[in-house]
């Protein structure tokens, strides 16, 4: 402490200066340190691909697909980014709003409407026909993909699709001496027969929680034999008497053949129940077959498409899930090359098989592995039925997802709890759908 002491004011000024240095350095470091300079290309085009359904197995498959593509296209590299299943729409929305979108993305048909409204995706029609793909891809898949868009254009590659199916414990049926179910009557009697609440065994697991609507459509509209949510007059079919009746039968399954906790069950809970041996039947889509196989053996699982209605109409639930490119992509030609690869026989065969999807490429559909997979065989056989009608879902309607996702869920749970009647529930939402459709038509005239 022995040094010449300058004037107090100078001392404090110096002290303050010294003091101010710390926060100044800190702030500068914060603001400057992050400046990253990206690598430059030199000849190789790098595409960015965002995956919307990231899971360890799927990531491995997708990276393999990318490898296959890069081998055949040495000048193109594809960088992979995995988005969590629950938040990918938010991330894409942020990217669109801030102009930081990638080149490629993996949407489902149900995502198209929202993405197109934001001007995110590039229409593929011209390139699709220029490449002669309409002759190579199953026409019904192309059509249902077009129908999902507000303007009827093609926005995602229609080369892979999910189908609604029911899984059941084939081993339980064998043990109980019951035949494989082929009709709704079979289903009703078998789920009842398999239920033994005292040992924790339930015939069915109903989706009462998040994401209930696709399963509702799968089980109710198929039983009712109605394949559209809006009839020829543009009116909602939700309160059609056949739908109400079928819905009542569906609701009646709760608590009589299902666990009480199914009130809030989402897929995770349902899958856990099915795999652990607490449920005999599970309604979901073929995409979960590989997952179920991870904890069960093939002879334990039976697969069937939801049964035809009384009048023989077989309603099929199909959802294409493919690849798309962004409108703002700086490398549209290369991006399209990737999309073409995923639709080609080599790419489609690999991707569909690895993911458990229905292949859209006609040549691939004849391959042996398609016939060998029980899930795919069931879906394809049902599609071959001449009374088969694909379910027409109004994905193009912007309010569709908020009505069937957020609005309907609490009321659906009230219905299961017995606090709201099926009729009132369906009438309320038929009205909501009609109003949404009217608003949409008024706004887009």
């Amino acid at each position: 402490m022995m040094r010449e002491t300058p004037h107090p004011r100078t001392r404090t000024r110096r002290r303050a200066a010294r003091l101010a240095v710390i926060p100044a350095i800190g702030l500068t470091a914060l603001l400057v340190a992050g400046c990253a300079t990206g690598p430059s290309d030199d000849g190789v085009v790098t595409l960015e691909l965002w995956d919307t359904d990231t899971r360890p197995e799927r990531t491995a498959n997708l990276e393999k697909l990318i490898d296959m593509f890069e081998k055949e296209n040495p000048g193109i590299k594809v960088d992979y980014l995995g988005l969590p299943t629950d938040s990918y729409m938010q991330k894409i929305g942020t990217a669109v709003a801030t102009g930081s979108t990638p080149d490629l993305v993996t949407p489902k048909a149900s995502d198209i409407s929202a993405l197109v409204a934001q001007g995110a995706l590039a229409p593929l029609d011209d390139r699709f026909s220029a490449g002669g793909w309409q002759d190579q891809i199953d026409a019904s898949l192309v059509q249902t993909t077009r129908d999902a868009a507000p303007d009827g254009k093609l926005y995602i590659t229609p080369a892979t699709a999910l189908a609604d199916v029911m899984f059941y414990r084939a081993d339980w049926l064998r043990d109980a001496g019951l035949p494989e179910p082929t009709s709704w009557d079979d289903f009703d009697s078998e789920v009842a027969a398999l239920t033994d609440a005292s040992t924790g065994r339930f015939g069915y697991t109903i989706r009462g929680g998040n994401g209930f609507w696709p399963q509702f459509m799968e089980m109710v509209f198929t039983r009712a034999g109605i394949a559209t949510l809006f009839d020829e007059n543009g009116k909602s079919t939700l309160d059609d008497p056949r739908v109400v009746e079928a819905a009542q039968k569906y609701v009646d399954l709760y608590k009589t053949t299902t666990a009480e906790s199914d009130l809030t069950a989402d897929f995770k809970v349902m899958q856990a129940q099915f795999a652990a041996g607490s449920a005999g039947f599970l309604s979901h889509s073929i995409g979960s077959y590989p997952t179920l196989l991870q904890s069960m053996t093939p002879d334990q699982i039976g697969v069937t498409v939801p049964f035809p209605a009384e009048d023989g109409t077989q309603v099929l639930g199909l959802l294409t899930t493919g690849f798309a490119m962004f409108q703002s992509s700086k490398h549209p030609e290369e991006a399209w090359k990737f999309l073409e690869f995923t639709m080609s026989q080599e790419g489609d065969s690999f991707w569909a098989q690895a993911s458990g999807y229905i292949p859209g490429n006609i040549a691939v559909a004849d391959e042996q592995w398609v016939q060998d997979s029980p899930a795919l065989a069931a879906a394809i056989a049902a599609g071959a039925n001449e009374k088969a009608v694909p379910m027409n879902v109004p994905y193009y309607l912007p309010e569709y997802s908020s009505i069937t996702g957020t609005d309907m869920l609490p009321d659906w749970q009230l219905v299961l709890q017995g606090e709201l009647s099926v009729q009132d529930f369906l009438t309320k939402y038929a009205t909501a759908m009609n109003e949404a459709q009217q608003r949409y038509e008024d706004a887009t005239k």
Partner: protein, 303 residues
């Protein structure tokens, strides 16, 4: 209670007037740079109808969103539930945290390990907390299954699927994670209590309760007050647990206002209405904060 800003600083006022401003400079700068514009944008959007998937509807609506909110039954219900949730949750967390801190403050063998263990739920990521408790409440993988094996409860039931029990299930899960927050804070605060105070109280023959009321509580009071406020705001705004554990159900019975905001703004992409709801929540929180701090005489630090 505790010493604080004092005459000593006044003696140096003239030459060190800008001291505090320099010290709070970094914090203030960060907030100004990174938060002013985003917060302002929320205010901006609250006056719009804004839904990216329905661009034909977007436009200025002035106070239209707020009028709609006033008539929105879901809003009022969620507000009521939020109050219930925050009061119960923060109250329980505080009580348990306080007890924990007092317990851990004592010396006993293995105190270090116990301390580490008991504080650790705080370190668990939100996504993990909900996953763990989902596994516990799951009818197949959770407690329910094993209890049913013992015949104590019927199969296929879960706390999460009853309108009344879902609330307590969520409270328990959040309590597990949140009580350590108070415990850590209070324990750190307890360390600065002079031992002599307790010793002289002992000499005076004071009992346990008296010592707590006269020595411990006044000392930790200000930290507790502010921690409770911040925790209340956090619990108010935090949707992760409820979103994943109950989804706001069953039948909307566990939907807080921020969860309603998340559903509206993010899931339904109705960002305009969601922003308006956020502003309403913002105003509520400001009013609450000001009233709360005044009531606890926080302005007068020399309490």
């Amino acid at each position: 209670m505790t010493a604080s800003a004092t005459p000593a600083s006044r003696r140096r006022t003239r030459s060190t007037a800008w001291y505090p401003y320099v010290l709070i400079g970094p914090a203030a700068a960060l907030v100004v740079i990174f938060l002013v514009y985003p917060v302002a944008s929320v205010f901006y959007y609250s006056l719009q109808r804004y839904n990216v998937t329905m661009p034909f509807y977007n436009g200025f609506v002035g106070l239209g969103n707020f009028i709609e909110i006033a008539q929105d039954a879901k809003f009022w219900r969620s507000l009521g539930f939020t109050l219930q949730w925050v009061v119960v949750e923060v109250g329980l967390q505080f009580v348990f945290g306080l007890i924990l801190a007092l317990l851990i403050n004592r010396a006993f063998r293995g105190r270090g390990i116990v301390r580490a263990l008991v504080f650790s739920p705080w370190a668990v990521a939100g996504i993990l907390t909900t996953t763990i408790w989902l596994l516990i409440y799951n009818p197949t993988t959770g407690f329910g299954h094993y209890l049913a094996d013992l015949g104590l409860v019927p199969y296929g039931t879960s706390l999460l699927s009853g309108s009344g029990t879902a609330f307590w299930a969520a409270v328990l899960a959040e309590l597990w994670k949140g009580a350590p927050f108070f415990a850590i804070l209070i324990l750190a605060d307890l360390q600065s209590i002079s031992l002599e105070l307790y010793e002289s109280a002992d000499v005076d023959g004071a009992g346990r309760l008296r010592k707590f009321v006269s020595i411990t509580w006044p000392h930790i009071r200000s930290a507790v007050v502010i921690a409770t406020l911040l925790r209340a705001v956090w619990e108010f705004n935090n949707v992760d647990l409820l979103y994943t554990l109950t989804g706001g159900g069953p039948a909307g019975s566990t939907t807080t206002l921020p969860l309603y905001v998340a559903q509206t703004a993010i899931t339904d992409r109705d960002f305009g209405y969601g922003s308006a709801l956020t502003i309403v929540a913002f105003v509520i929180l400001i009013v609450f904060t000001v009233v709360y701090l005044r009531a606890n005489r926080f302005g007068r630090e020399n309490a």
